[in-house]
Subunit: 290 residues, 2 copies
């Protein structure tokens, strides 16, 4: 019946193109919790995927099985075969790829970085940083370097929705004085600086510090010299099997920060988001979500 060389997961993915919307929705739901969800009763699966019972029945046959029980039987066979499989010491993330494939090596490194970084983080400092960044009474400046300005902008884009009174400081240093002129006691600078540490960034930090601003620093495991001036420092591990460093862990921290800050004033954020949505609707920039 089935080609022994491919898993049912593969087969579903492969057929994904030929499926209709509801069927695809169902297929994704199956893959979501693979293979557990496929082993329960058909009715439960349908409800889980928010599709109707006939849709499940139809798709299963479309996939080439005699019926739902047949499908389940194959799932069990697969599970049975897999259980006796070897347990890799380093986890294989992309199972379809050999463990030496860059997909697996890279992911492994990133997970490792995350584990390491989170293991050393100080939650209280984190909470403190959130509070500082959430406070709309103090102006918020966000600054990044050559590569990290993408992270800075990512943070900026989100904070823009969450609170007013913030600035994305572009990296060209001749525009700085304008920003700094207005910066005062208690204003907050979020600075991204990973190796190789930029002289410019240090200058900016010094100026900000001199004006009595608070500094939240995102840096790497070796820590930018700015950390001496910073009130709060987050250092991420960034080493990966590549000629470059990874920003993934830092992004994770940034996203967590965004989520936490948003949580501090959900009412206000929600309002602002709704306004934003409405504006997008009006400009027809986005499709309606289907």
């Amino acid at each position: 019946m089935t080609d022994a060389s491919q898993t049912i997961s593969d087969r579903i993915q492969q057929k994904l193109e030929d499926l209709t919307r509801a069927e695809r929705q169902l297929a994704l739901s199956i893959l979501e919790n693979y293979p557990a969800s496929g082993l329960g009763p058909l009715t439960a699966l349908a409800k889980d995927a928010n599709v109707s019972v006939p849709t499940v029945a139809r798709m299963v046959q479309k996939l080439g099985y005699k019926g739902y029980p047949d499908f389940q039987a194959e799932l069990r066979d697969e599970l049975r075969a897999k259980a006796t499989g070897p347990i890799a010491k380093h986890e294989t993330w992309a199972e379809a790829a050999p463990s030496g494939h860059i997909l697996n090596r890279f992911t492994d490194a990133v997970i490792d970085n995350i584990r390491h970084t989170l293991g050393h983080i100080d939650p209280q400092a984190f909470d403190e940083a959130c509070k500082m960044i959430a406070n709309p009474d103090k102006h918020l400046y966000i600054v990044g370097g050559r590569i990290t300005h993408t992270l800075a902008e990512y943070l900026f884009l989100h904070m823009q929705v969450i609170r007013p009174n913030l600035t994305h400081v572009q990296s060209t240093s001749n525009t700085w004085p304008h920003y700094l002129l207005n910066a005062g006691e208690g204003d907050v600078f979020v600075i991204f600086d990973v190796r190789r540490y930029e002289n410019n960034m240090m200058k900016l930090a010094k100026m900000a510090h001199a004006r009595g601003a608070r500094i939240v620093l995102f840096t790497d495991q070796w820590r930018s010299p700015i950390h001496q001036l910073a009130d709060i420092t987050f250092s991420s591990r960034i080493v990966v099997p590549s000629a470059w460093d990874s920003a993934a862990t830092t992004l994770l921290l940034v996203e967590t920060l965004i989520s936490a800050v948003q949580g501090l004033d959900w009412g206000g954020t929600k309002e602002r988001m709704e306004e934003l949505e409405e504006m997008f609707d009006r400009t027809k920039l986005f499709r309606k979500f289907t």
Copy 2:
């Protein structure tokens, strides 16, 4: 009903003493290839273990389940929890923080996203994409949306070092015609489009496609409609405990891609990197690495 802290396998082993011969035989058979055999019909299990049907029914109740279906449901739950991996189970990432802290919840979600995304990726498609993107004979266009343009830029910044002949298409659509005028057969577009999918992006994709360009798409698990035009699609899970979506998994893919592409022509890349370093040194933009 069940003590959440122990697996069904544990529970069976523990009760093994209290069971009679036939029941023990059955129990061992269940453990033999666990949990697959327990997920099939009762009759099959009985035949598998060489015991009678009533024996199965009796034992299941003896173990404390309401009936065989109840037993199966618990098995599925367990499998479901396990599928998300031994790591994701209940791991506390930031040990200094309570497990309910956003740091842990968010990280958990991201790891989960990575796991799912990598689990469903097609390594061959990935390699194929790398090859396409590495080829300097074809012009490379990189495009992102409102939020994702940060990812696009991240990719662009790195590819700029790796190869010549590429363009970062800014999101303002009135500049597109200039870019597209030069785009031709076989040129490559890397497009980022996650929900909410932008109409602009679709238009651009259509134009590019019409001119015979190839499209590599980075999208989310629901897949931007552009995927119909794309030669290769990467979909990431992006759900996190936040009002926004996570870009971390997509960034991971992008970074892996960068690493892989760089590996395809390491000689050339190295040269270009050295040139770049020299130029930075000359402009004194960076500190010497200490």
